[in-house]
Amino acid sequence: MSMANAFDVALVALLLAIAVWVVVARAAFSAIVVFIAYGLLVAIAWVRLFAVDVALTEAAIGSGLTGMLLLGAAARLRGTTASGRCGLTLRIVAAMFCAMISLGLGAVILTPPDVVVTLAPAAMANLPPSGLGNPVAGVLFVYRAFDTLLEKVVLLLALLGVWSLTPDRLWGGVPGPQVDAGPDGMLAFLAQLLPPLGIVVAVYMTWTGADHPGGAFQGGTVLAAMWIVVIIAGLQNAPSIDQRLVRFLVVVGPAIFLGIGLAGFALADGFLSYPAGYAKPLIIVVEVALTLSIGVTLGLVALGTPQRMRRQ
C-alpha cells in the first residue's frame, strides 16, 4: 500500500471513530467540540478528493460557523437533562435500518458505472469566454448561476426565519448576549489585531476565487467571522435588526445578482446570461456584492434572535 493510501485509510478510520464519538458522547459540549474537529478532518478528506473549494467551504461554514452556533446553543441550554434514553428495541431497529441504508449506499459506491459521465471537458471548454480560470467558479457563476442566486436567497430566508422568531416585545432589538468583556481583556486584544488581517484574507480569498480555489462564499464567511470576533469582544455593539444599513447590506448582494440576471433578457441570451466580453467584470461585481451580503447575513444568522432592546 502506498503512502497516500495509508494516509487515506488512517483518515477514514479517524473520521469514523470521531463520528461515533459525536453520536454517543454524553455531554452536548464535548459532542460539539468533537464535531468541530470532525468538520476539519472532513475538510482534509475533501482536499484528498481534489476539491479544494469544497474543503475551504466545509472548514469555514460546515465546521466553523456551525460549531460556533451549536456551542452557543449548548451554553444556553445547559442544565436541561436528556429526557431518558430511548428503548433498546428502538435502538436495535434503528441500527438495522441505518445499516441497511449504509450498505445500500456502499453497494452503489462499489459498483461504479462502466462509462463515467462527466461534465469536466464541457466545463473547461466553455470557460475561456467568461474570463475565469477556476472551473468551480465557472459552474457557480456562469453555468449554474441560477442555483447560486437561489442559494443566496435561501440564506436570506434563513435570516428572515431567525428574525421572525423574535418575541413581539423585542422586535427591532439587538441580537446576541450582553458582553461584559473589558477593553483590556484578551478578547479585545484579539479583536483589535485580527480583523484587519482577516479582512485582507477575506478579500484575497474572494479575488483569487476567479482563477484558484476560493470564492465569494469562503471570503464572506471570513468577513462574518471577523465581525463576530469584534462583537463578542465588546468592541462594537451588534446592530439592532431594524437599522436600514443592516437591511440594505443583507439585500444588496442578491439584488445586484438578480438585477444583472434580469438585464440578461435585454442584453444577452436570457436570464442570467452575460453579454459577450462583459462576463468577467459583471461576475466580479456580483462576487463583491455577494461577499459583502454573505458576510453580513452569516454574521446575523450566527448572532441569532434579538435578546434585548437597544438602549436609546
Binding site: 476539491a51 456551525t66 446553543a73 435500518f97 459506491i109 466545463a123 441569532g304
Partner: protein, 113 residues
C-alpha cells in the same frame, strides 16, 4: 481500492451513523448534530462522484463540487433555523425536549406570541 471508493464507503458509513444518531438521540441539539453528520456523509458521496469524473486535466468534475458547496451553505441555513427554533422552544416552555409528555410544565414567562 482507490482513494475515491474508500471515501465513498466512509461517506456511506457516516450517513448511516448520522441517521442512527438522528433517530435515537432524544435531545434535539444532539439530533441537529447528527443531522449535520448525515449531511457531510452525503456530501462525501457526491465528492466521490465528482472525483470519478476527473477529466480534461482537472482533479474532479466541477459540477458536483459546486453542488456540494451550495449544499453546505443550505445545510448551515437549516441548522441555524433548527437551533433558533430550539432556543425559542426552550424560552417558551423551560424545557428543551420534543416529547409532549415531558413538556407539560407550563411556561411561567410572560405571554410572548
Amino acid at each position: 481500492m482507490n482513494a475515491a471508493t474508500l471515501f465513498g464507503i466512509c461517506g456511506a458509513a457516516l450517513a448511516g451513523l448520522g441517521l442512527f444518531g438522528l433517530i435515537t438521540n432524544s435531545e434535539p441539539l444532539r439530533k441537529i448534530l447528527a443531522f449535520n453528520l448525515l449531511g457531510t456523509g452525503t456530501f462525501l458521496i457526491f465528492g466521490v462522484v465528482a472525483r470519478r469524473g476527473a477529466a480534461a486535466g482537472l482533479g474532479g468534475d466541477p459540477v458536483p463540487q459546486a453542488l456540494v458547496i451550495t449544499g453546505i451553505v443550505v445545510a448551515f441555513s437549516a441548522t441555524a433555523m433548527a437551533v433558533v427554533l430550539l432556543l425559542r422552544l426552550f424560552e417558551e416552555s423551560g424545557k428543551a425536549t420534543l416529547d409532549p409528555n415531558e413538556a407539560d410544565g407550563a411556561s411561567t414567562a410572560e405571554d410572548d406570541s
